[in-house]
Each structure stands twice: as C-alpha cells, then as structure tokens.
C-alpha cells in the first residue's frame, strides 16, 4: 500500500483532467462525484497508507518514481517522502479537503461554473499533496507554485467582478515576493550544498555549516521569506484578507486550513537550517508574535464576517510561527492541525450563514440567527471555543503547548509568553464578538434566512465539530521527525502560569460579552472618543499596511513607469520605427500585385547574381 503513495496526487489530478477536458459539459451530479470522489479516494488511500506506515514503525519511507530531469549533477527525482510530518499534512489535506469538497457540492450548486470550480479545487489538492510529499525542494517548489496558481484562480473565481480579479492579482503578486526569495534560497542551497533533496541537504548543512554561519543565516532567511509570503505573516500578510473574495469553501480550504500553512510546513521541514541560525529562528518567533498581535487588533474591528476569520487565521498562523521560533516544532504542527479543523469549521459555518443571507457579509446586518441556523450556530460556538482555546477543546491543547514553549525560550521567553497571552485574550474578544453579533441579538436587515442546508453541507460541519472538539487528543507522530528539536524538555511552570493562560480567553469573552451582548459598555460612546475612533480606523485598515505599501512600492513604481513612457531610449526606438516605416513605404511601391513584375524582378536578380558570380 505504501508503494501506492503516488495515487494520492494522482486521483485529484485525474479529477482535474477529466473536469477540464470535458469543459463543463458534464452534468452537475457527475461533476460532484468526480470532484469530491477523487479527493475522497485520495483520503481513503492516505488513511490506509498511514495505517501501514505507523504499523511498520519505520521513521520514513521514500517512494522513488522517476528522475524528473537530469542536468549535470542536478537530478531532482520525482520521489515522494513520507514521514510523520508529511503524514500529518497529507491527512489534513485529504481529510479536511474531502469534507470541504463535500460541502462545496452543496454550497456551489447554483453556480454556473460548477465544473470549473471543482477542477481548480482538485488541481489544488494535487499540487498541495505534491508540496508536502515531495522529497526534494524542486518538487516542493512545483507544488508550492501549483497551489499559488490555484489560489489565484480561485480567489478570482467570480471574475466578472473586477475587484475579485484585483484581489487575485494582489495575492499572486504579494506571494510572488516571498516565492522569489525562496527561489533564491533554493539556488543558494544547491550551489552551496550540491543537492536539493531535503534530507541530504539537511545532513550536508549540519556537516558543512557551523552554528550561526552567514550562509546558514542567509539560507534560513530566504526560506523564511517564502514561508512568510505563503503564510501571510508580517510583512507580506496584506493579501490574505483580500483573498476572501473567493467562494467561502476556498477560504476554508486554501486560505485557512491548508495552503497558508505551507509556510509553517516549510519551516518545520527545514528546521535544521533554522537551528543552525538561531538569530533567524528568533526572528521567526518575533514575526509570529507581531503578526498575531497585529492581526488580533485588526480582527476586533472588522465588520465583514470572512475578513474577521481571515485576520484570525493570520493571527493563528502567527502562533504557529511563534512555536517554530521557540523551537517547538511539533507544537507548531499540532496547532496547524487543530487550526485546520476549527478554522475550516468556522469558515464553512460562515459560508452557511452567508448563503442563507444571500451573500451578505456584514455581521452587523446579521443577528439573531441562533434559531434559524442551529447547525451553523453550534458550529460557531464550538469553533470559536476552540479558536479561543477554551479548556478541553482542541485549540486549548495546541495553544497551551505553544505558550509553554515560548515561555521556555531563553532570553525573551517571558516577552513572547506575555504577547501570546495577550493574543489569546484578543482571540477571545473577536471570536465571541462574532458569535454574539451574528447569532444573538435582534435580527437585523430584511434578509429572509433560508432553511438549513442540504446533508452534503451539514455532514461536514458535524464531522468538523467533532474534530474541533476532540482533535486535541490526537497524537501526532512527530517525535522521529524532530528528534533533534530543542525546547522539548518538560518545563516546570507554576500553576499561576497555567491559570493566566486559561483565564486570558475567558477574560476576552467577558469583555466581548459586556460590549456586544449585554451592552453594559456602549460602543457608540467609545467611538465618540476621537482617539478610540482613530485607533479603530487604523486597526480596521489592517494597521494601514495597504496604504503604506501603496505609498512605498506601488506609487513609486507607477511614477517610474510614467516618466519612462517617453524617455530617450524610447525615442531611439521610435527612430528605428520611423526608418523601418519609410523603408517599408519605399518597398511597398515595388509590390505592384502583378505576377509578371515579380517574376521579372526575380529573373533580373538572377541575372545580376550570376553576373557577379561570373565576374568575380
């Protein structure tokens, strides 16, 4: 069964091909069967392969398929590498992916481009599997760019609206910045270490590079660039909120559960490099911390239900980076998994709400949906509880591990811990703000809520609810992968620490309750305060990052483009053009259209050439 690991990306790829080649001519039922079924089959094989892999007790398993290309010493193989890390990722991608596909068969049922949607989705799953299963960085990069492409296609899925196209382009361009850094990183690794096979490369790095050597720092930094771009961390986080323009299942699958965590996966996969560059690793931690705090502030102020979830995603991935920076690799991956569960749950539930309100996104136009949408309501309750890391939900276990690991970091450990706890407090506020505003209170607006959804949408929600609640009990088999990892010794921390960590989200929920449920504090009065108001606006705009980038990058570029429009070099080419033109006009007069004339010219030319040949 392990040998059949190539089946995993093959199933969705076949689904993609069959959907693309039939060009939308298949009936919806068959599209749904192909689209969801291919990922389902993939999940089934993933489960079987995992069972066999875990039973075998091996640390890793390599399936060599073929040599992709061979250029001198550069011979990346098309090989799949299975260990604990890729196993977890593979199960998340196919499992959560399958549930989201199933959900989409109901969610997208009225969309005219049903077949195209599933084609892109299947392509995405195939590419993502390639990313996590590839045994070398080139294959990983193929999957990396593949998911980027799918992300672009799916954000701009409703391309009739130019804004969506703009959001898609933005996502593409911003992540490209990170991807470029990553590509340079790959070049550096290859030239320095002579291989791109991940395991060989890591071994070589350990042997050749000293701790904190400049090369290791450069390589880690460049890879971090790629990770930051893909995972929407500071300073490349601006694309993710806009990416919510795509259909909601896309946001659930790509922009919450799987693709955006690819950065976490990359760092975890190449953790040896980061251990060789402790400063960069510290940078990772601080990037995560800054991102989680920033996104937390912003999430509190948003009005769009999907944007709130998007910022919370950024914030949660911030936690993962924090864990990575703290050297708690398995905690990061663990949080990645639980986050995939509860964030997918939240997005899908949000999708149900949005669909029932005819694509209304503004939470303040919702309200009182508790009775009308019970499944969505309970999904939100459980999802938000897990998001806020309330005890005994899945998020609690993973976030707990992260914060403890952060505390154990030598040096700025306390700082990291405090930041993380503050982030948890914010998480409580914004997650339950969403619940209180949407599901309690008065029904706002004129929207008539639709009936609860079809089983294909309800069943994934149920399953994800179970996973979001109980996912914390899953043991991730990561010990073999991160055996070298630091920060693994059991930290003995005081009860106070635990109490603070448990209390923080509850505190946040309480604040949220006072503001949005019981209205003890009046929000309008607070907004009347100019300082609070301007702060709110600042946070609402995502700390003004978009405007900043517009000033720093976009405007200067446009300015340069404008002044370049009529420069000296252009006039040189214009001269060339005019010379060509006049020559053309001259030659055009010889084009009389008379065959005899052409033949005569040819004959005359022949005579001339032969004369030259004879004379010389």
């Amino acid at each position: 069964m392990q040998d059949l690991i190539w089946l995993l990306p093959t199933f969705p790829m076949l689904g993609f091909l069959s959907l693309v080649l039939t060009g939308g001519s298949l009936p919806r039922k068959i599209v749904a069967v192909i689209g969801a079924g291919s990922v389902g089959l993939s999940f089934l094989s993933a489960v079987l392969i995992s069972a066999q892999f875990l039973a075998s007790g091996e640390d890793y398993f390599v399936k060599e398929l073929w040599v992709w290309m061979a250029i001198g010493e550069f011979t990346p193989g098309f090989n799949f590498y299975l260990d604990g890390l890729s196993l977890v990722m593979m199960l998340i991608i196919t499992g959560v992916g399958f549930l989201i596909h199933l959900y989409s068969t109901g969610f997208m049922v009225d969309d005219p481009a049903y077949s195209r949607f599933f084609a892109y989705m299947n392509l995405f799953v195939a590419a993502m599997l390639m990313l996590v299963l590839g045994d070398n960085l080139v294959l990983l990069y193929l999957g990396w760019e593949g998911v980027g492409l799918c992300s672009y296609l799916l954000i701009g899925f409703w391309y009739e609206n130019p804004d969506n196209g703009y959001a898609a382009r933005k996502a593409f361009v911003v992540t490209r910045v990170g991807d470029t850094a990553m590509a340079i990183g790959l070049f550096l690794l290859f030239t320095q270490l002579g291989t791109l096979n991940i395991q060989d490369m890591l071994q070589a790095a350990q042997q050749q590079w000293a701790m904190g050597s400049p090369l290791a720092i450069a390589a880690a930094l460049l890879l971090l660039g790629g990770a930051v771009g893909k995972s929407a961390q500071l300073p490349l986080q601006t694309w993710l909120p806009d990416a919510m323009a795509g259909p909601t299942p896309i946001s659930a699958l790509i922009h919450a559960a799987t693709m955006v965590t690819a950065g976490v996966y990359l760092v975890a996969r190449t953790h040896v490099l980061f251990e060789l560059a402790p400063r960069v690793q510290m940078l990772v931690a601080f990037v995560g911390l800054a991102t989680l705090l920033m996104a937390g502030f912003t999430a509190m102020t948003q009005r769009d239900i999907k944007r709130i979830l998007a910022y919370s995603t950024i914030s949660q991935i911030g936690y993962m980076f924090l864990a990575l920076g703290a050297g708690a690799w398995s905690a990061a991956v663990f949080h990645l998994m639980t986050h995939a569960f509860f964030k997918a749950l939240l997005f899908l539930a949000a999708g149900t709400v949005i669909l029932s309100l005819h694509h209304e996104h503004d939470i303040f136009k919702m309200g009182g949906k508790r009775k009308q949408l019970p499944i969505a309501f309970w999904s939100f309750i459980i999802g938000s509880a897990a998001l806020a890391a309330l005890p005994f939900t899945s998020g609690f276990y993973s976030k707990d591990e992260i914060l403890l690991a952060a505390l154990a970091v030598e040096g700025p450990g306390m700082l990291l811990w405090i930041g993380g706890v503050i982030g948890a407090f914010f998480t409580g506020i914004y997650s339950f703000r969403l619940v209180f505003v949407v599901f309690f209170g008065d029904s706002q607006g004129h929207h008539e809520a639709k009936e609860e959804a079809h089983w294909s949408m309800a069943a994934p929600l149920m399953l994800l609810m179970v996973l979001a609640l109980l996912g914390g009990w899953i043991q991730v088999p990561l010990d073999a992968v991160f055996s070298s990892g630091a920060g693994h010794e059991e930290a003995h921390v005081s009860l106070l620490v635990h109490a603070v960590m448990i209390a923080a989200p509850f505190l946040g929920i309480g604040v949220s309750y006072l503001f949005f449920m019981s209205k003890v504090f009046d929000l309008d009065k607070l907004m009347a305060n100019p300082l609070a108001n301007s702060l709110h606006r600042f946070w609402f705009s995502g700390w003004g990052m978009d405007a900043l980038y517009q000033r720093i990058f976009v405007n200067p570029f446009l300015y340069l483009a404008r002044i370049n429009r009529s420069d000296l070099i252009d006039s040189f080419y214009a001269l060339l053009v005019s010379i060509t033109r006049s020559a053309h006009l001259m030659l055009a007069r010889t084009q009389t259209g008379y065959l005899g004339w052409y033949a005569l010219s040819m004959a005359a030319g022949l005579v001339l050439i032969i004369s030259l040949g004879v004379m010389l």
């Binding site: 259209g593 008379y594 005899g596 005569l600």
Partner: protein, 102 residues
C-alpha cells in the same frame, strides 16, 4: 554507341529554361503561365538527369523523380486555384489579381 558532350545536354536545359522564363514573363493568361512554369521545371529536371548521366549514378534520376512529384502537386494545387479564380473573376487574366499591392 557514340558519346554526347555533357555541355550540350546542359545547354539544352538552359535553352528550355530560358524559353520557359520568357513564357512566364510575357503571358497574361494564367494557364499559360503555369504551363511555362512546367517547362522551366522540366528543364531543371533535365539538368539533373544530364548530371546523373555524366557520373553514371542514379542520384540525379532520383532528384528528377522528386521534381516530378513536386510538379504533380504544384499543378494540382495550381489548377485548383485557377478554377477558383475563374469562378470568382470570370477571367484567366493574371493581372486582374493585383489587389494585394503596396
């Protein structure tokens, strides 16, 4: 068996070629033009065969066969074009087809 000077064969080819050229250049009826073209093609084939005879090899004859094939394809397409032209313009005057100028 008496011998034939090779240059006489080549001169014959040259004369035929020149005559065909005159035909191509002077005639306005497209069928005549095509026929003169055949003369030129045939003359070039003749040169190949003469060369083949000069060296006692069959290569020149093979080349002539290729020219023959070419001529067959060319004539088929050319005559198809003539029929089209006659349908469209009701004439075989090649100079009527001078729209593509400049």
């Amino acid at each position: 068996m008496q011998s034939i000077p090779i240059e006489h064969g080549l001169i014959l080819a040259g004369i035929l070629f020149a005559l065909g050229l005159v035909g191509v250049l002077t005639r306005r009826n497209i069928v005549f033009v095509l026929m003169s073209l055949e003369v030129m093609l045939n003359a070039s084939g003749l040169a190949f065969v003469v060369a083949s005879a000069r060296w006692g090899h069959a290569d020149g004859q093979v080349m002539f066969l290729m020219i023959l094939t070419l001529a067959a394809a060319e004539v088929a397409v050319g005559l198809g074009l003539i029929i089209q032209m006659y349908r469209k313009f009701k004439t075989v005057d090649i100079d009527v087809l001078s729209e593509m100028k400049g």
